[in-house]
Point group: D3
Chain length 281, copies 6
């Protein structure tokens, strides 16, 4: 993640939560120092250490963060994943924003990992979509990578996705691709969304870079894949989730994209415990 974007986002997040000031911690003197621990309260993939490191540094250069496991690793509930030593005012003011992000990112990483494990394929990869939370895309997509998934396009700017409307207007998949190839440079890939075998064949003929099978059954995906030459990448999308992903295991498709990885996230439970004892620095 681009550190400049992370810092800017975190500053906005802290302003959102803290506002004018944390009125509850006004009870503590500035110099009171203590230790806080992040503890996993369920099993899964931990994700978000770059946030942990940047967040406290934004408050004070000398808050000490110690990490006990590696980013993207599976932990058991009860594991202490990190400790932070610094002014109790800082620890309490930062707590909620840090936890909100860590829990979302670890939640995404965990359910991505479940998707990967459930798919259990040496060939097909799990990938995300643009169904991320507005303002949080770099965090969401990073978390997908941590969980063993892959990123689909970042936004409307870096890959073409041709859907029914584009094709309808252009007249055919071929003419749509040609129109775009006539104006776009060589670094941009063109993906085509297809809904039936005729469209798949048309997309192959039109030399799409990526062919997506929209809302296709495992059998259809398998059939379509058998038609597509190896120079074109295939993707299954639409209605696939943790329950049915394993049915796509043997379809031979290259990528399976799941919107739910980022649009329906169950927070991964992490608690932050502050030690009872304080020191004055």
């Amino acid at each position: 993640m681009n550190k400049f974007l992370v810092k800017k986002a975190l500053e906005n997040f802290f302003i959102e939560d803290i506002g004018e000031r944390d009125i509850s911690t006004s009870i503590f003197p500035d110099e009171l120092v203590t230790t806080g621990s992040f503890i996993a309260k369920s099993d899964g993939i931990i994700c978000g250490f770059p946030i942990l490191i940047e967040a406290y540094k934004l408050f004070e250069e000398d808050v000490k963060v110690e990490l006990f496991i590696n980013e993207g690793r599976y932990v058991k509930s009860g594991t202490i994943i990190a400790t932070v030593i610094g002014p109790i005012k800082v620890l309490l003011a930062a707590e909620r924003v840090v936890l909100n992000l860590l829990q979302r990112m670890s939640g995404i990483a965990t359910q991505t990992n479940i998707a990967v494990q459930t798919l259990d394929s040496s060939h097909s990869r799990v990938c995300d979509t643009r169904k991320t939370m507005p303002g949080l895309r770099i965090f969401d997509k990073y978390a997908v990578r941590c969980g063993g998934g892959f990123n689909h396009r970042s936004g409307l700017y870096d890959t073409v996705m041709l859907k029914d409307n584009h094709v309808a207007f252009a007249g055919s998949i071929k003419s749509a691709i040609e129109a775009l190839r006539g104006t776009l440079g060589h670094t941009v890939k063109i993906e085509v969304e297809t809904e039936n075998i005729e469209q798949v064949i048309e997309a192959i003929d039109a030399k799409a870079d990526i062919i997506m099978f929209d809302n296709a059954t495992p059998n259809e995906v398998k059939e379509y894949c058998s038609l597509v030459p190896s120079t074109i990448i295939t993707e299954a999308s639409g209605g696939i989730n943790l329950e049915n992903i394993s049915m796509y295991r043997d379809t031979g498709v290259d990528y399976i994209s799941l919107g739910m990885l980022t649009h329906s996230v169950k927070a991964f439970d992490i608690s932050f415990n502050i030690e009872g004892s304080f020191k004055r620095r």
Copy 2:
């Protein structure tokens, strides 16, 4: 929601998703106009119309948005909730951000509403927490209200929440409250988190404005509530969710706060369908 914050957020969200430009829609001429419809794909509470209205206006003053139901109403899957008439370039460029927000907000409103219906209490209210997605708090809290829930404090700046650390440092709940009442103005309420009956009694004696029972069982909540005078508001919090909330129905507690309302959101499925026919304006 403050319109200035909504506009600022939407502009940032569109920049995040569109980047330099939507390369796929470069295929369409500017003057091509069409109609798009938002259709509910599941049953629940629709939330997010202010976003719908502001979002398209940011692109072009004369995109027409028509709403077919009222904000916060329950809809059945298949219901057309709104239509948008405008340049197809605008409709496609705005689609993802608008849907991502609408689906989250409707998801929050829907599960809040389920909580309210399940609790089924004429006395106790369901409320949210600060476990919202960073950058999206005003949207998340608005959605909770749409679903029939109530908002807890907005951030660290508007209500005091005394937890074990504050009390440990101050020596007692009483001394913590007194210390804060000695510096804070009359518009700020002080809430105290309690973990057992002794703390509840101490908080009552200390004249807390709100007493929160942390991780208390329904029976404990009932017992605690019976001790608290009517001038003090009570709140149950911690580990309460859609599965067990009905067990708190007869506890007499004033508010029940659920972190899951906003930290673990299932997107409410909404599709956006663009008509096949185009007009030139």
Copy 3:
């Protein structure tokens, strides 16, 4: 004060004053180091040290700020309140913004303190209003606290203030409060502005959290206060200033709010003297 807001504000203030560059100090080499002293030129309360500390750090990590008195203390004219050691370019470029803020904040703290001393009440407290300078609210409200005053609500978002228009529309104070209690959460207090005894009684019946007596004479305030039960907080507001505040001493009112504390500020005179001798580092 939230450090993120303070830093952001200071950066904007320095950009406003310095623009492209300080053309006058282009005469000095970068490495020329000297000492500057902040000296009180009148008697009163000094306020603004967090600004002093953050401001120079924003320029250079190693400018040394030494404080000789405590924030919020009363000083006599002539007192050296702080010294700064650093590049003369930094000292001169930062001077005006720092002084402008310090002088305003100390001016607010001083006149707040005069109000408190003049009121001379063990019961009634002096508080501010929303009549702060746009963009400077966190600084203005902090200064009021430093002077011994209390803060009224931060903005339109954290406390309800019902005025004649709200009541006129709702039909009565009671119905206005009920309408709001029906939608607002438990952390929000409702204050009602009253203009005569009938309204005070109506507000008491409606169980307002705070009752404000608008433009009431000391005698009226006293009479109204005698009617209000101790569970409701009272506030006198409107037309009260340093000249007449002492007349409210024995009214028994809980809070007296003064708009002039922040809308009509006399700068507290502070000079910044740079030593004649320079060193090269």
Copy 4:
């Protein structure tokens, strides 16, 4: 005033005051329209109409603002200066920020005008300093112009001001001016602060563009001015205020700068009255 800066500032000011939302006005339906009147409550110069016009437009294009007097004119207490017709929600949400600015700006314009009237000179002009409130400089300097005063430099970037430190380092006023003339372009003026007759003479010899007499008595100013050729502009500064400015009437000085115009502002009392009757649009 640059409209882009005014809009940006107003948006920030409204976000500061309104926050997430105006909870008090949630009582009113969106379509309730009414009329509000701005009424002067003291005698003086009214200033701030560009704010009035921009502010409501930022909320809604079709709020109607009607002005009854001209910007910068003297009004008597009781004069209705403007009316606004629009949604009551908008009128109440905008009220405080608009009044805070108008009262400050009219306060500055009024006391500037008093300074000009008191000085009562056909030759000497009253001007401001950089002692404006951080973030509000364009508003403060505009108000000074409305009151009949003139603006000194905008910031550190547009005019050189040589003080004792610059001169001490350069060795002499002459060498300081020469050093700067050697690097600065022809659009920049150099002003020199002088404290005695020797320095005045040195500044004349060095061909300063402007010579400022710091903390000089009226007699000293008169004497110094008699020495300065007409091609050099003179300025008296330091310790001049509304009480003693008339003593400088016959000194022949070109400009008299007063820090108090903007650092110690008494708000000009303006009230905003909303009509009792509402319409639905």
Copy 5:
């Protein structure tokens, strides 16, 4: 170009140039309306109409812009390309920023077009690089497209470019590509920079998406191209400019990238003439 980015950029540009206010135009009353004409003063491609349209709208909704030629067309010196009707204050305040952008963009479009014409190839395309002016990339890349060129990657985020350092660290081109394919999704292309025939062959074997020949002579480019299969795109880069680009005409290379298109721009001369006559509106 994303309209949100264009507006944001233009607002910043106008603030940079206008500052507090345009002091020269203070001479004109607000209601004075006139007509200004943009006239080409040399021959070439005109580019920048979206800026023209957005810029004036930002000042005032009702400034009328009329365009006389199409974006990206070749014009002769003397051609009136557009007229603007609006307040003379707006026309003069906007002039410089609008011209600075239009002249740069038309300059880029023109020299891109010269490159395309000079290359005169039905196969090879001219493209840009990341050597754009910081803050102006979307404008620079848009101008390249207007001139008949193509865009290379937008930034470090959307396409991989493997250079000697990456390869040195990974051990070989193959291992570098494999490492990246192991983590990057299917929408990202990998381009490899090669400096000799061995590297070209290695890149072919490693199945790079794009092979770039760095600083290769026309003969080398021709030789390398003959080795590369048609499924891999070729690019010549380094040291190619308007003087020598025609030597690459028959090399068969797919893309030729020129840094000078955007790093060394000769402004296209455009004048803005305001009519002598004014009207009051």
Copy 6:
């Protein structure tokens, strides 16, 4: 250059180029450290070291930058001008933005220096205009100074420039100047653009601070200068460039302004070479 503006600009530039992340450098581990060298690839003036120093610090406090020559000095092609030691990820991510700025700024400094050398006058100075690239004015104007040139006004806010439209409206140069002197303070200079001898004489009579001869031949400039008293500064402008500037050598004009210094910049070629060997820190 104001450090706050430089930092803000650099952060935006890095966000523009890096976006979500540098996908190419994801191949390197964080702890891999190496050395990069900036090497001049042509002869000229090097400019931009403050950028070099700030840019890397924004990434990481402990990247070491070593400079081998002084800012604004003439270098021969092949000279190593600076080295940077730090993480290879940082070096590669920062490279393009740093080079793009350095090459532009050194290009401006170099062609400014050529103008100064070609003019070869002990009296006349070379200066810039407002024809800088939007968003880059402080960098462009700084580079002009580094090359031995002088800065004209910074923007529309700091110096008046009266052109034909202003004069036409006011009736005469004299009345235009008088109107402005009647409202503007003493720190602002008024420059008048003249097109013939009558206007020059009128501007002299009107006591303009600066008289500009627009599009005048060297002979005309010489003639006009002979009329202007030494208290008024003269400037030749319009159509002057590196080819014809020497013809103005003996005209006696004070300043010669060249738009091309900043509107038509040839990038100064600088390469950035990263050492083959890496260390782990």
